[in-house]
C-alpha cells in the first residue's frame, strides 16, 4: 500500500478537471474531509428541509386530487421540483461544509422516498411489493424461509429482505406493510450515506454530493427503488460493501473493515441476484485495473480476496440455493440481446418512446426534458473519461466505473425496442453510479474555484434538468399518482375490489386454489388471498397460457382444454380490461397475441355467465369470481 498523494497538497478548488480523482490511501480525516474547514449552516439546511417538506405536501395534494378524479399533474411536478431544487443548488456550491452536503443529500433521498410513501401510505400497490409481501407473510405464518411463491418463484430463494422485515415485524408487532416501509426507509438512508462516502473517497465531497444527486436522477429511483422489493434493499448494501472495500484498501491492516465487507457481500448475495453479480463484476474490474497498475510499477491494493469471495458466494448461491435464477433472468437478457442485434443490423425499432399501449401519452415538455437530461449526461461522459485517462493516479476502482458509464450509452438504443427496454431501464440503477461520478466531476470543474452565481446557477439548472428528466422517463405520467378507481380504464394495479375479493377467498374458500385471472389481479389473489394464480412465469417449464381461456368469445373446446390442462378451479374476470388497451405486460401475460383493434371484447369475459358448469359466486360490479364446478 503506497501513499500516492495527499489531496491536501493542493487546494481542492484549484484542481483541474482531472485532479479530483486521487487515490486516497490514508484514513486520517484531516486529509480526506474536503470541505471540513467550512462550517455547516444549520439555518440553510433547515430552510431546505422546509422547502422539501412543502414539496411533499404538494405531492400529497396531487395524489388526493388524483384519487378524487381531478388532475394532480402540475402539483406533482411542483412538488418534485421543490424537493430536488434546494439540494441541487446547495450541492453545486463550492463553499459548503461536507457535513451540510451529507445532511442535504440524506434529506433529498429521504423526501424522495416519502414521495413514494405518500402515493399510498396504507398498503402496497406496486407489482413486486405483492410478491415480497407474500414472501414475508409466508415466513411469518410458516416459520421458515424459502416457501414457494407462485407470483415470482425466484424471489423466495433470496430471503435477505424477508429476514429483516420479519425481524422488525416480530420485534415490534407491526404489520408486514409497516415493517417493510420502515426497512426500505432505513435502507434508503444507508444508500444515501454509502453512496456519498463511496464517491467522497474517490473524488472529494463536492463531486460526491453532485454525483449522488445525479444518481438520484436514475429513472428507477423515485418509485422502483423505493418499493418493498429485494433490489431496493440490496442496492444500498451493494454501495455499502463497495465503500467498505475502499476502507479495506485504505486501512487494510485492520481486520474489522475486511470482516464487515465480507459480511455485507454475503448479505447482498442472499438478497438479490443482479446486485450480487454487479458487485462481483465491479470488484473483479477493480482487481484487473489494480494488477495493470502494479505492472506499470505503481503499487496499490488489489482486492483479490474480496472479489474472489463475491464471485464464489454468488456462484455458490446460484448453484445450490437458487438454481432457478438463471431460468428467470436468461429469457429477459436473451430477448434484450436479440432485440439489440435486430436493431443494430436492420434498424428495426419495435417500440415508440413515451408511448403506452400504442398511443403517445407523455406531454411534449416531458419528452423535451427527458431528451435534454439524457443529452446532458451523455455530453459529460467524454470529458469525464478524458480526465480519468489523463490522470495516472486515478483509483483503480474508477476503471470498472468508467466501463459502466460507457454501458449507459450502449444500452440507451435498447429503449427503442419492446424487449430490450426493460433491460435498459433496469440497468440504470447500476450504471448511474458511474454516470454520477463522471458527470459530477465535469460539473464540479465547471463551477470551478471561485464560482460565480451564473456558473453555479448553470450547474444547478443542469442538475435539476437531469433530475426532472429522470422522473419524466421513470413511469408513464398516468401511473405516477394513485389512480381514481371509480373512473373507467384498464387497472395498472390491483383495485380495492380485488383486494377485498382476495381476503374473501382466503377466509371463505381457504387458500391454495388454482385461479385463472389477469396479470394485475393475480398479484392480490396470490399474496393477500394466498391462492395459486396461474401466471406466465419466466423460467418455469410448461408455463400455461391463461389468455387461451379468456380471449375466445365463447366457451369452446380450446377453452375447456386449457382449463383442464391448467387444472383451474376458479376464474376471476375484470370488466375494466375491456375499457382500454393492455399495458406492456398484456392483459393476461406478455406472450399473448394481439387482439383485433387491441381491445378485449366484452363477450370474452361475460361468456362464462351463460356457460354450463361455471357458477358465478361473487360479484362486486367490475369483478366476478366463477367456480368451475361439476357439469349440470
Amino acid at each position: 500500500m503506497t501513499k500516492v498523494e495527499s489531496p491536501r497538497t493542493a487546494d481542492p478548488d484549484t484542481r483541474s478537471l482531472a485532479e479530483p480523482v486521487l487515490m486516497k490511501t490514508s484514513s486520517l480525516p484531516e486529509e480526506r474531509l474536503e470541505g471540513a474547514h467550512v462550517l455547516a449552516r444549520p439555518e440553510i439546511i433547515v430552510c431546505c428541509g422546509l422547502v422539501m417538506s412543502s414539496g411533499l405536501l404538494l405531492l400529497a395534494l396531487a395524489n388526493n386530487n388524483s384519487v378524487h378524479g381531478s388532475s394532480g399533474y402540475w402539483l406533482f411536478w411542483a412538488g418534485i421540483l421543490l424537493i430536488m431544487a434546494p439540494a441541487a443548488w446547495r450541492l453545486t456550491a463550492a463553499e459548503v461544509a461536507r457535513s451540510e452536503r451529507i445532511v442535504l443529500l440524506v434529506m433529498e433521498g429521504g423526501f424522495l422516498y416519502l414521495a413514494k410513501v405518500v402515493r399510498e401510505p396504507t398498503s402496497f400497490t406496486f407489482h413486486d411489493e405483492f410478491v415480497h409481501w407474500l414472501n414475508a407473510d409466508n415466513a411469518l405464518r410458516l416459520g421458515h424461509l424459502f416457501a414457494f411463491n407462485p407470483l415470482i418463484p425466484a424471489t423466495a430463494r433470496y430471503p435477505g429482505l424477508t429476514d429483516v422485515t420479519v425481524a422488525v415485524a416480530r420485534l415490534t408487532g407491526l404489520s408486514v406493510f409497516s415493517s417493510g416501509t420502515i426497512v426500505i426507509g432505513v435502507a434508503r438512508v444507508v444508500l444515501c450515506l454509502a453512496l456519498f462516502l463511496l464517491l467522497d473517497r474517490l473524488a472529494g465531497s463536492r463531486v460526491a454530493g453532485i454525483g449522488a444527486t445525479i444518481y438520484f436522477a436514475n429513472p428507477n429511483f423515485l418509485y422502483w427503488s423505493a418499493q418493498f422489493a429485494y433490489e431496493s434493499f440490496a442496492l444500498p448494501l451493494m454501495f455499502f460493501a463497495l465503500w467498505l472495500a475502499l476502507r479495506v484498501s485504505a486501512d487494510g491492516q485492520r481486520a474489522g473493515w475486511r470482516l464487515a465487507c465480507l459480511a455485507t457481500i454475503s448479505a447482498v448475495v442472499v438478497t438479490h441476484h443482479v446486485a450480487s453479480y454487479a458487485l462481483a463484476l465491479i470488484l473483479c474490474g477493480w482487481v484487473v485495473a489494480a494488477y495493470l497498475r502494479q505492472r506499470r510499477g505503481n503499487p496499490c491494493y488489489v482486492p483479490v480476496g474480496l472479489a474472489a469471495y463475491a464471485v464464489g458466494a454468488a456462484a455458490a448461491w446460484l448453484a445450490f440455493v437458487a438454481p432457478g435464477t438463471s431460468g428467470y433472468l436468461s429469457p429477459v437478457l436473451l430477448r434484450a440481446i436479440s432485440a439489440g442485434v435486430t436493431l443494430a443490423l436492420h434498424g428495426n425499432t419495435s417500440r415508440q418512446l413515451f408511448a403506452g399501449g400504442g398511443v403517445v401519452v407523455a406531454p411534449k415538455w416531458e419528452q423535451g426534458i427527458a431528451f435534454a437530461a439524457v443529452g446532458l449526461l451523455l455530453v459529460g461522459i467524454p470529458f469525464g473519461l478524458l480526465a480519468l485517462r489523463r490522470h495516472v493516479q486515478a483509483h483503480p476502482l474508477l476503471a470498472p466505473l468508467a466501463v459502466g458509464c460507457l454501458l449507459y450509452g450502449g444500452l440507451l438504443p435498447l429503449r427503442l425496442t419492446a424487449y430490450g427496454q426493460e433491460t435498459a431501464n433496469r440497468s440504470s440503477e447500476y450504471v448511474f453510479l458511474s454516470l454520477g461520478l463522471i458527470d459530477a466531476m465535469v460539473m464540479a470543474w465547471i463551477v470551478g474555484r471561485r464560482p460565480t452565481v451564473f456558473r453555479q446557477a448553470l450547474c444547478a439548472a443542469g442538475l435539476v434538468v437531469v433530475l426532472l428528466g429522470g422522473t419524466a422517463v421513470s413511469w408513464a405520467f398516468y401511473e405516477r399518482l394513485q389512480p381514481d378507481f371509480s373512473s373507467a380504464g384498464v387497472p395498472t394495479q390491483p383495485t380495492p375490489a380485488t383486494v377485498a375479493l382476495a381476503w374473501w377467498m382466503k377466509t371463505e374458500l381457504g387458500p391454495g386454489h388454482r385461479v385463472g385471472t389477469d396479470s394485475v389481479d393475480d398479484l392480490a389473489l396470490g399474496s393477500y388471498g394466498e391462492q395459486d394464480p396461474i401466471v406466465q412465469t419466466a423460467g418455469v417449464p410448461g408455463t400455461p397460457h391463461i389468455w387461451r381461456v379468456f380471449f375466445p368469445t365463447r366457451v369452446n373446446a380450446a377453452v375447456s382444454a386449457e382449463i383442464r390442462a391448467d387444472r383451474l378451479q376458479y376464474l376471476v374476470t375484470q370488466q375494466r380490461l375491456t375499457q382500454g388497451t393492455a399495458g406492456s405486460g398484456g392483459y393476461f401475460d406478455v406472450a399473448e397475441p394481439s387482439l383485433p383493434g387491441d381491445r378485449l371484447p366484452q363477450a370474452s369475459l361475460t361468456k362464462f355467465d351463460s356457460a354450463p358448469g361455471f357458477s358465478r359466486i361473487y360479484d362486486s360490479g367490475d369483478l366476478a369470481l366463477y367456480r368451475i364446478g361439476p357439469q349440470p
Binding site: G49, A60, T172, V186, S620
Partner: protein, 262 residues
C-alpha cells in the same frame, strides 16, 4: 483519559437487555415499537461497530452508515441461521438472537485491548460530552430559529402524510354480493355494502322456478348481511340478484347437484 471499556459499550449492552425484556414482556405496543426498532435496526450494528472498529471513533456519517448498514446485514444473515432451527423463527428467537449478538459484540469489544486514539479523532466515550456540548449550542437564538423552522418542516411533513392517509381511505371496496356453497344442501348468500350506507336493497332468489324476495336492512360499512338457503334435491341452478328499485345491481348464480357428491 477515558475509562475502558467506554461508557457507550455499557450503555449499549444495558439497552439491548432492556429492549429484549420489553419486546418479550406483555407490554403495550407503544412501548414495544421503539424497543423493537432499536433492537432490530440500531443496537446490533452499534455492537458490531464497537467490536470491529475498537478504540477509535468513526466520523459521524460513517458511524451512522455502519450502525444502520451492519444492523441490516446482521438481520439479513441472522435469518438464515434462525431458519436452520425449525419452528424457531418467532419473536423469542429473533429477540434472543439480536440481543445476544449485541451483548456478545459489546463483551468482545470490552475485552479487546483498546487501540490508541488517533490524532484528530476522539474516543467514543467522549461522544457523550460532544452531545452535551451540541445541546448547549442549540440554546443560542440562531439555533432556536432553526429549531422552530425544523418543527414547521416536521409539521408540514406530518400534514402531507395525513392528507395521503385520508386520500387512501377514500379507496374502499364496492358493494358485493356473494354465494358460498356449504355442506348438507346449504348455500350462504352474503352482501357487503362497501364504502357507503346502502338502503332499499332487496335479494331476489330464484330456485327451480320459485322466486322469493328478501328485503335487506340498512347496511353500513361495518355490517355484512348473510342468509343461509337450503337447496332442493336434484340438479339445478340457484340464482340470486341484488336489486335496488328497478335496477339489478349484482348477480350471482350457482350450479348444484345434490344427487352427486360435490
Amino acid at each position: 483519559m477515558s475509562a475502558y471499556p467506554p461508557k457507550s459499550l455499557r450503555v449499549t449492552a444495558a439497552l439491548a437487555a432492556i429492549c429484549a425484556a420489553i419486546v418479550l414482556a406483555p407490554v403495550p405496543s407503544a412501548a414495544r415499537l421503539p424497543a423493537g426498532l432499536l433492537l432490530a435496526l440500531v443496537l446490533p450494528g452499534y455492537g458490531l461497530v464497537c467490536l470491529l472498529f475498537p478504540g477509535r471513533s468513526l466520523e459521524r456519517a460513517e458511524l451512522v452508515a455502519c450502525v444502520l448498514g451492519l444492523s441490516l446485514v446482521a438481520a439479513a444473515l441472522g435469518g438464515l441461521l434462525l431458519n436452520l432451527a425449525p419452528g424457531h423463527f418467532g419473536r423469542p428467537a429473533w429477540t434472543v438472537f439480536l440481543a445476544s449478538l449485541t451483548l456478545a459484540c459489546c463483551t468482545g469489544a470490552g475485552l479487546r485491548k483498546p487501540a490508541p486514539p488517533r490524532e484528530g479523532l476522539t474516543g467514543r466515550a467522549d461522544e457523550l460530552a460532544g452531545v452535551r456540548g451540541t445541546l448547549r449550542r442549540l440554546r443560542s437564538p440562531r439555533n432556536v430559529t432553526a429549531l422552530l423552522l425544523s418543527l414547521a418542516a416536521v409539521t408540514i411533513t406530518s400534514a402531507a402524510m395525513a392528507i395521503a392517509v385520508q386520500a387512501s381511505s377514500a379507496q374502499k371496496p364496492p358493494l358485493t354480493l356473494w354465494l358460498k356453497p356449504l355442506a348438507d344442501r346449504h348455500v350462504q348468500v352474503g352482501v357487503s355494502p362497501g364504502v357507503s350506507i346502502q338502503t332499499g336493497l332487496v335479494l331476489v332468489i330464484y330456485e327451480k322456478r320459485a322466486k322469493s324476495y328478501v328485503p335487506l336492512p340498512v347496511l353500513t360499512s361495518a355490517h355484512t348481511y348473510t342468509k343461509t338457503l337450503t337447496v332442493p334435491v336434484g340438479t339445478a341452478e340457484i340464482v340470486v340478484d341484488l336489486e335496488q328499485g328497478p335496477r339489478t345491481l349484482r348477480h350471482v348464480q350457482y350450479w348444484y347437484s345434490t344427487t352427486r357428491s360435490r
